[in-house]
């Protein structure tokens, strides 16, 4: 999870490193800790450390972690020569390591030689059938080749064994959303909310899926989850505020003839709209007219 303070710290360090202010190693550590994907920058700054023998030796045993990080970043940037060199260095240092074996297989993946990579992963799995990272790599490989249904199958099988792995649940949810299988995606998000109830982004994603599904009941639940996102973020999530407005107008449209209760709902909408207007006034005053027309059209249509 990346919190607000960590995000600002990361941005600050990134600026500092890009402008030659030093602190490359701290930046790389933070990137690793927050697990963000900044491959190009990791490659550039990581290599500058690795190519400088003095800096490299001052890292101590962390040197090997950096080699791994740079190798993966290089694969992501398709700088296969660098990736190969890094993997070679690691193989020389750790001749028996499974982790380096995984790195080599990933290199094959990056080259696009799927069969060889598959073979490598299978042989690694024979040694240790419960290696989670390798199972995940196989799913990713199936996805990269375009066999989405195979990826889903493997992911489901994987989740039967490792039910507590929320990254995998998230990946499955995202795959389902990309295939427009919203009911299945909603199930995955429910699972994620159960395992990590304080992460507002899961509530938000679940609400999005329910809103997309439509229907009165789903819309009402979606509104509740948008409201819980607002609660967890202290009203600082713009998407959730928009979600509340959209849900309310959709619900009133559906219940037009019946016209019962729903005093509280409209109040929620007006509050959300007020917060939105305040935020826009503060951060993007030139977009304010667009916002007001959009909000007006929502209330008019109801």
């Amino acid at each position: 999870m990346v919190t607000k303070t960590e995000e600002t710290q990361l941005n600050r360090l990134e600026n500092q490193v890009d402008n030659g202010g030093g602190g490359a190693w701290e930046y790389l550590c933070l990137v690793r800790k927050l697990r963000v994907r900044r491959s190009e920058k990791v490659l550039k700054h990581g290599l500058s450390i690795l190519n400088d023998p003095k800096q490299r030796s001052s890292l101590g045993p962390d040197e090997w972690t950096l080699y791994e990080q740079v190798a993966v970043a290089a694969m992501d940037c398709q700088c296969l020569d660098v990736a190969k060199d890094c993997t070679k260095v690691l193989r020389k240092r750790f001749p028996e390591s499974k982790r380096v074996g995984r790195l080599e297989a990933m290199l094959l993946e990056a080259k696009g030689s799927w069969e060889l990579a598959e073979k490598a992963y299978t042989s690694l799995l024979e040694d240790n059938p419960l290696d989670q990272a390798i199972h995940k790599r196989r799913v990713a490989m199936a996805k990269a080749q375009g066999n989405i249904s195979v990826a889903i199958d493997w992911l489901n099988k994987y989740l039967e064994i490792f039910m507590a792995d929320h990254d995998a649940w998230r990946e499955l949810a995202e795959i389902y959303v990309s295939l427009q299988m919203y009911k299945q995606a909603a199930f995955c998000y429910e699972e994620l909310i159960l395992s990590q109830p304080t992460v507002p982004l899961y509530h938000l994603a679940y609400a999005d899926v329910l809103y997309t599904l439509g229907g009165l009941e789903n819309l009402q639940i979606a509104k509740k989850y948008y409201a819980s996102t607002v609660d967890l973020t202290g009203g600082k999530n713009t998407r959730a505020l928009f979600g509340i407005c959209l849900c309310t107008s959709a619900i009133t449209q559906l219940t037009k003839g019946k016209n019962k209760e729903d005093k509280e709902g409209s109040q929620l909408q007006s509050l959300a709209a007020k917060v939105l207007e305040k935020d826009y006034k503060q951060k993007a005053p030139d977009k304010l007219p667009q916002l007001t027309t959009a909000l007006k059209s929502l209330t008019l249509s109801s």
């Binding site: 360090l13 701290e26 550039k44 967890l232």
Partner: protein, 143 residues
């Protein structure tokens, strides 16, 4: 009383220890500052415990005195009451300062508010624009 104080000591979290990433100078700075406050705090805490034990000792002595003079017990003597209150304040102050800064527990505070999820790196795939537009950067591992 000191039991409850110890409990509150445990409840506090040390935020300074979670400083993983900062430049070496700030790390030493933080460590230096923590050591200073810790030194002062623990001295005061030690003083508080000393005063408390002295209060206990004088209570025992006072009871012995009462037994000898065969008087009725009407209330603790003033010096014991003052010592207990002083010890309480000292121990509390030490418990609040020694273990570091307080962290926010609100989910919407800046330290706790999650703004983005980590990239799902375990499932990363390499089919993206770099495959076609290779990086304009001649990088190489020199050894």
């Amino acid at each position: 009383m000191s039991d409850t104080l110890n409990d509150s000591l445990i409840l506090l979290e040390t935020s300074d220890l979670s400083v993983v990433v900062s430049s070496p100078s700030t790390i030493t700075n933080v460590v230096h500052r923590t050591q200073q406050t810790m030194g002062l705090g623990s001295i005061i805490g030690f003083l508080g415990v000393l005063i408390l034990s002295h209060a206990a000792y004088s209570t025992i002595q006072y009871r012995g005195l009462l037994k000898i003079t065969e008087e009725e017990f009407s209330g603790p003597p003033l010096n014991v009451v003052i010592e207990v209150l002083l010890g309480l304040v000292f121990c509390m102050w030490a418990a609040l300062t020694v273990s570091g800064k307080f962290l926010s527990i609100h989910p919407h505070s800046e330290e706790n508010r999650v703004v983005s999820l980590p990239a799902n790196l375990d499932f990363m795939t390499f089919n993206h624009r770099y495959k076609v537009f290779s990086l304009e950067m001649d990088v190489k591992l020199k050894h």
